[in-house]
Symmetry: none
Subunit: 407 residues, 2 copies
């Protein structure tokens, strides 16, 4: 018997409120350069500290030992989906990141302008890194001229610099496709093909991309330096079981950055828009408390400063979060989790594979008798080291939403 089916069978409806607060990339590592202290350890966090007395702690593997996840797999795991089973193509992630609302079956591609010579050979894969304004202008031109191909709608959105996104919305389409990108200069743009050549839908999508090239390339052929474009990570939005069906919880997303809103939307969460700061997000949680059962609250700045290797700024971001925390606690959810989607150590200046610390507090979490929420403290916690995809099941258990298994 499949474990997910067992969990589904055991799932009960209750009136509990659950909150998953994600400090993106909060986990870090202690290194000599920083006096063997992490940002979580260095930060002054009286409100987090107060939670730990009645909390269980542990560490989570975002995907599997040694694997550094992108934001997609990191969040899918937090939402309780196996990030290896449910893979979301880069085109889809990029589209979500630009705030596009995708539908199941949409095929999305990361694209960027490039320079071609007279023979169609790629001479600069980034078209001299054109300005965003130029990119927007070119995208506007393509959008105005190529709205549909056959029965398929074409959606184009400019990104930063030379980057943009193309979404194909039609019937019977599927990815993944091979890249329309030679991956180095001196070669022509390859024709895309279905990765699985037996898939009729993928072959249709591949033909569509070819038709798109045929329609779009002539429109910019005389532009300089961006007279061509490349497409990569072409994939469809996978059919993911809805969060609400899976857990019997009405879910809401309180995120500021588009990608996290998009990832929440992938699993069917309602996006609550407007809040710009963590304090405003918590205020909105209070206002919406009775309308939803599950709240995903995303805080970006821990990751952002970790990516820059800026220890002080990451520490300060944690302190700002801590200062806002009492707002959330005015209506304390029955189950509250504070964690990251992965670690972003300052010494790495990027996402990493180090298991992120997790804190869970409920009437049934028990106490691990730890004074603070830190990486080394979490190593001692009762939750141990576990795969992030099980976090939702622990939250359900703490909400008394999982019936007993067997007599």
């Amino acid at each position: 018997m499949n474990l997910d089916s067992l969990y589904s069978e055991l799932t009960l409806k209750t009136n509990a409120k659950l909150a998953l607060v994600v400090l993106d990339g909060v986990g870090d590592i202690a290194t000599k350069e920083r006096g063997y202290v992490t940002p979580l350890e260095a930060a002054v966090t009286p409100n987090l500290d107060a939670l730990t007395q009645d909390a269980a702690q542990g560490r989570m593997l975002p995907v599997a030992p040694g694997i550094t996840p992108g934001s997609g797999p990191g969040h899918l795991a937090l939402f309780g989906y196996d990030p290896i089973e449910y893979q979301v193509g880069r085109g889809v992630i990029e589209a979500l990141g630009l705030g596009l609302e995708l539908k199941a079956g949409d095929v999305a591609a990361r694209a960027n302008f490039c320079t071609l010579d007279a023979k169609g050979i790629v001479t600069d894969r980034r078209a001299g890194r054109i300005e965003t304004a130029v990119c927007e202008e070119l995208c506007a031109l393509l959008k105005s001229k190529v709205r549909r191909i056959g029965d398929t709608e074409v959606i184009i959105r400019a990104g930063k610099g030379h980057r943009f996104v193309v979404v194909f919305r039609g019937k019977g389409l599927e990815g993944p496709l091979s890249d329309a990108d030679p991956h180095r200069e001196g070669l022509p743009i390859p024709t895309v093909q279905a990765i699985d050549s037996r898939s009729v839908k993928a072959r249709k999508a591949a033909k569509l991309v070819g038709d798109f090239y045929a329609a779009a390339l002539p429109l910019i052929a005389r532009k300089r330096p961006a007279n061509g474009f490349l497409m990569r990570g072409i994939a469809h939005q996978p059919a993911i079981p809805l969060f609400q069906d899976r857990y019997q919880l009405r879910p809401a997303c309180l995120a500021v950055y588009p990608m996290y809103k998009g990832l929440a939307q992938l699993v069917g969460m309602t996006r609550l828009e407007g809040a710009q700061t963590i304090a405003e997000q918590f205020e909105r949680y209070l206002a919406e408390h009775s309308n939803y059962d599950f709240f995903f609250i995303h805080y970006k700045y821990t990751d952002l400063h970790g990516e820059d290797g800026n220890f002080e700024a990451k520490k300060k971001a944690i302190e700002e979060f801590d200062a806002a925390l009492p707002i959330l606690l005015r209506k304390r959810p029955e189950v509250l989790v504070i964690t990251g989607d992965h670690s972003t150590p300052c010494a790495v200046k990027g996402h990493s594979w180090h298991p992120q610390p997790v804190l869970l507090t409920s009437a049934y979490s028990g106490s691990d008798k730890l004074d603070r929420f830190t990486e080394t403290g979490a190593n001692l916690g009762s939750l141990g080291l576990f795969e992030a995809k099980y976090l939702m099941r622990l939250m359900q258990a703490n909400a008394r939403m999982l019936d007993k298994f067997g007599a």
Copy 2:
């Protein structure tokens, strides 16, 4: 390669004695109401404490994260069987709980008397919660009149209040079947059907249950208030690989409560009857030391008081266990494990999903240098957090019963 096959290939015979002592539901959680102390922490346990110096500790997931097991899955996991692969139906567990000795292929059902109106509609699913004596009288009547149906033996045993158990012992039978229970008043008793309609054996069992109703209902039709009965959890005893074949160990069970004897018998352990207290169970262990290689010793009272939320009584049960422990140690087994089948926290008043603490001592266990056996101590142990189904393999390894894998 299947992991179980690998373990089997590596298994050697030795002269070691192994003892698995189960303090049912011993695990607990530290909560504010109890001053953040668990019964294990509060109890005075000099003999357990003395063991810890030469022991490894850890925590075990009974089934999977967040899943609260019944006694069946909890014990099957301790015996080294995947509790999801080997599921034992509620009818079977109930029959074992009433002390019935089941054979592989027996189909067992939980049953209870109910009240029917003139049209056969269920008006009270519990027949006004009749007294046990009335239930015994009705069961005696059914037993005397319905001994066989065709080539199948019918075994009926009264339980508490309105509850009883029916076992069908014949050839070519199989569960699971749908319930003969509308699960609410105002509806007739539904006809049972095979869950898997392709199973000839299950269809035969379903017909048999129908025939049993046809024979039994008229016998009590004029009784009041119990003039009908419902049947649920109808399943056959699954074929489980024998413990002795799996581990090359002659196993014995020293349990006081019928259900645990029954679960041990499911995997082919010999039931050693007679001992009523933990001291008597340990004395019996000494007497039988040379006759068996593996001893499953079950202590119920930690769970019993946990279910009542009675912290003091649970603590006292641990102290009584501790006082008897020196008897066992007179012939110290080469491998001794003390653990629970799950946690039964006083704050939950029932089984829970919290990983139970485990202590393992042998000449090769090493020392985790912990002073006591407690939940928070076990968090720090060298065994870490692992699935309970692997405990038997750790015991085998400590008994030097597992050969090296590969060169």
